[in-house]
Symmetry: C2
Subunit: 329 residues, 2 copies
């Protein structure tokens, strides 16, 4: 089995590779070849260095996607994207990477299939950004996509292409809309959503964190481990169960910031929560208020996708996966 | 005021030009320049020949859209499209014209606006094909777009682009999803929806027509006159009323084939309906059953869009506009 991961240098890509490294038949059959590419050359886990073919690839460069697809990978994970903020500030780059790059990949598969039958599995990382306010209290799977960012627009377009190419039998595709991943490992970054992870990750290692919003702000979360689980499940699932509606919201946990803090205190004690400094930021509060916070994911759950049901679990997973089971709060 | 009509050689484009010819200030201000283009050179109504600049233009030819937009039209009607059947049978052509052509037009406007401020009104002809079965009994304006054709996919992508370009202030756009236009003038064609018009148009001039489906088939209709009215209204409407949700379903009449026939008999007598020959076609019946038939268009109505409320009116409009007020049944 040959696996291609496009966008392998990112956080989810790296964790997906770690998961494959830990269990070479995680996708059903043993993986014999692995191609991992990104705009910077990704580094494979040591256990995969024998089978991994790594490359620095920009999908919109003519011929780049064709070269990747010429090796006829059986499963393709498409995680590559310019993130929300950059797609908004750099119009051309966002459309070039998120729309044209995705289409170039899809077209390369179509062209390869015209030479000899070839219908790979394709798993696409989509986003809640396909939705735009105002929202109903819970967003159902039939709610329309009216993105309020260029990033969300590009993801919604990629979803439409994915559904049409799948309907035509060009590939067997699924688009999974990821919740906000929490607790994101690594250093705090400038994303408006960064604090959702910071307020848990930093106190767990004895560091201060800033909370810029009210404790009653609601959001939709899943752990990095669940996110990898979504991709693995999507790669193995019988997609005929999806019919023609190939894009769906992944399960997650709807929680208020106050619930995050209560869970932190239960797991790590009051000295952890004491490290959180409230410093209201109206700009962040406003951005976050415009995001969807609760979803009806009955469809994904019925198909076997699963995520955490308590923030205690999300914190424990972080302690297990990132802190070797220990925390220094 | 300078008007650009892209796709002006089609039925709706022609009727829109007739409407403008009949009232030069129909869009609010007198029209001083009119550019009309299509893949075949359109012929303007005689009354407009002094101000009309006609051209054979393919938007995806490099520079073609830029040349059109360099004249900085105030209002742009974008009606050009490869139709549903052809977009399905010719994958490349459908995407090239309906997706890349539309994007080329939008990009030309963006590039022109980078030279000096320029934010034209853009009215885009979208379609009920953005929706895909299964449907609720009535499709509301928040129902999701899961097209089951490449044509519908391309229209849905164009809608997303239109909303994003409008949100960014590149143009002031509106996408109007047209009902099935009935009674279409001209000869019967091979479209699966053709019979909806044939069974009225042909008997009105004493000719036979074939009815390939059950009389209880429901569909969603508006007259050509209403369609032109939608475009004119969309060109004049204060689009800030739409907020960021720039694409909407136009009003129409939900009617069964049986109601069409009853209206024909009321308007033209039993000798008209006697000309209809029932010849069930399971293929057509199946295609038509997969189409949406009823919509909640409260939003469009509140914005002032209006259509017929009885099939008697639809037939009378055809008699007035196409048969000089007389019918030969």
């Amino acid at each position: 089995m040959h696996i291609l991961v496009v966008g392998a240098a990112g956080m989810i890509g790296g964790k997906l590779l770690d998961r494959i490294a830990g269990q070479l038949d995680v996708l059903g059959e043993p993986i014999e070849a692995l191609t991992i590419v990104d705009v910077i050359e990704p580094i494979p886990p040591a256990a995969l260095s024998d089978i991994a073919n790594c490359g620095q690839v920009d999908l919109v460069v003519p011929g780049a996607a064709e070269t990747l697809i010429a090796a006829r990978p059986d499963v393709i994970f498409h995680l590559a994207a310019v993130v929300s903020g950059e797609a908004e500030s750099d119009f051309d780059k966002g459309y070039r990477v998120n729309m044209d790059g995705t289409r170039a990949l899809f077209e390369a598969i179509r062209k390869e299939g015209q030479k000899a039958p070839y219908v790979p599995r394709l798993v696409f990382a989509s986003s809640v950004a396909v939705f735009g306010a105002p929202f109903p209290e819970r967003i159902g799977d039939e709610f329309f996509t009216t993105p309020l960012t260029s990033y969300g627009t590009q993801k919604a377009i990629a979803e439409l292409l994915l559904a049409d190419y799948s309907r035509r039998g060009i590939f067997d595709g699924i688009g999974i809309r990821l919740p906000t991943i929490c607790i994101r490992p690594g250093a705090p970054n400038k994303a408006a959503s960064s604090f959702f992870s910071n307020i848990l990750r930093e106190p767990l290692v004895g560091k201060e964190a800033i909370l810029p919003v009210d404790v009653n702000v609601r959001h939709w979360f899943a752990s990095p481990r669940s996110a990898v689980g979504f991709f693995v499940h999507a790669a193995r699932l019988d997609l005929s169960l999806l019919g023609t509606r190939r894009n769906l919201m992944m399960p997650g946990l709807c929680a208020m910031v106050g619930e995050q803090l209560a869970a932190l205190e239960r797991v790590a004690g009051a000295r952890a929560t004491a490290l959180i400094r409230r410093q209201p930021d109206p700009v962040v509060q406003k951005i976050v208020s415009g995001w969807p916070s609760d979803f009806d994911t009955e469809r994904a759950r019925a198909l076997g996708f699963a995520a955490e049901t308590s923030f205690d679990d999300i914190i424990r997973i972080h302690i297990e996966d990132e802190l070797d089971g220990m925390f220094g709060g």
